[in-house]
């Protein structure tokens, strides 16, 4: 099928080019659709009419990308909750198994557990904001809440690592505490990757929807 239909399918490909799998799949589905509708040798007018019935390629791509952004936001939420649980467990283990840091009155000894705890509280509050955004269907705000939660978790993880270092040193720290902190780092790293994917996804969807 040549001409108008080919141009339409090429436009779909170009709009979804960042996701080759999706672009190929949709282009093949639409090619099949046009073939069903038009037969083997359609005239240019018939092709133009078929394309008009399909609607603008940009609208189809925008709708698909908006749905993708929603799915990515859902996955980000699941990883966020997992990261909060992992961080909470690691934080509790540090409190239970490491000696207190503030015995000698040093500023770092008081500050590090404070940051460990309150950065986590910030992450919890951001998670609540994310859930409220989810209930209200505000995708862009959800992205912002995920970023705040990520910053809070980063603060908590960094303070946790410093706490282990100051309290016992890595070599002397209980294995369980070190393992929990490593697990916490991995899950927060995964959350960062997911948050970046969400940001890209929301940006692409907004660009197509707004233009």
């Amino acid at each position: 099928m040549a001409g108008v239909i080919d141009d339409y399918l090429a436009e779909i490909h170009a709009l979804l080019g960042h996701d080759r799998l999706l672009a190929n799949r949709l282009a093949e589905e639409l090619a099949d659709h046009f073939a069903d509708m038009l037969g083997e040798t359609p005239s240019e007018d018939e092709q133009l009419e078929a394309v008009a019935r399909m609607g603008p390629a940009r609208d189809i791509a925008a709708s698909l990308l908006a749905d993708r952004a929603d799915s990515t936001a859902e996955r980000t939420g699941a990883v966020l909750v997992t990261a909060l649980v992992a961080t909470f467990i690691a934080m509790r283990l540090r409190s239970l198994w490491l000696p207190p840091l503030d015995a000698d009155g040093a500023l770092a000894g008081a500050l590090v557990p404070f940051i460990d705890r309150w950065a986590f509280v910030v992450a919890i509050l951001a998670c609540v904001g994310w859930l409220i955004g989810r209930a209200r269907g505000r995708g862009a705000r959800r992205g912002r809440w995920a970023a705040v939660a990520l910053a809070g978790l980063f603060g908590s993880v960094a303070a946790g690592i410093l706490r282990i270092f100051l309290a016992a040193g890595w070599a002397q720290a209980p294995v369980l505490v070190v393992a929990a902190t490593v697990g916490e780092c991995l899950v927060v790293g995964l959350l960062m990757a997911q948050a970046l994917a969400l940001r890209r996804s929301l940006t692409r969807a907004a660009r197509l929807a707004g233009s």
């Binding site: 799949r25 949709l26 093949e28 589905e29 639409l30 099949d32 659709h33 073939a35 069903d36 509708m37 019935r53 399909m54 609607g55 603008p56 390629a57 609208d59 189809i60 709708s63 698909l64 749905d67 799915s71």
Partner: protein
Amino acid sequence: MLKGHLDTIVLAALEAGPAHGYAVIETIRARSGETFDLPEGTIYPALHRLEAAGLLASEWVVPPSGRKRRVYALTPAGLDALKTRRSLWDRFAAGVSAVVGGRPWPA
């Protein structure tokens, strides 16, 4: 108004059996007495969305005619979702009919 019900309409169109995108559109058009003459491009995002939600499954098939096509089918979860949505729709439609389609009010 149709936009909010599109997913339900697509699920209902696939209740009779697996079908490809164009057949889904034709089914909707025929069963609605051509009331729903949708921009055809709205159906494909809906099919992809329902598949991502686990309500549809799809696969490429090559029929005897030889052209590869993607065929969608309801999953068990999709069938359950359709039953639930149909029940909600029946209540909603009955309510709207009672208010809008009845005698003038106040009598």
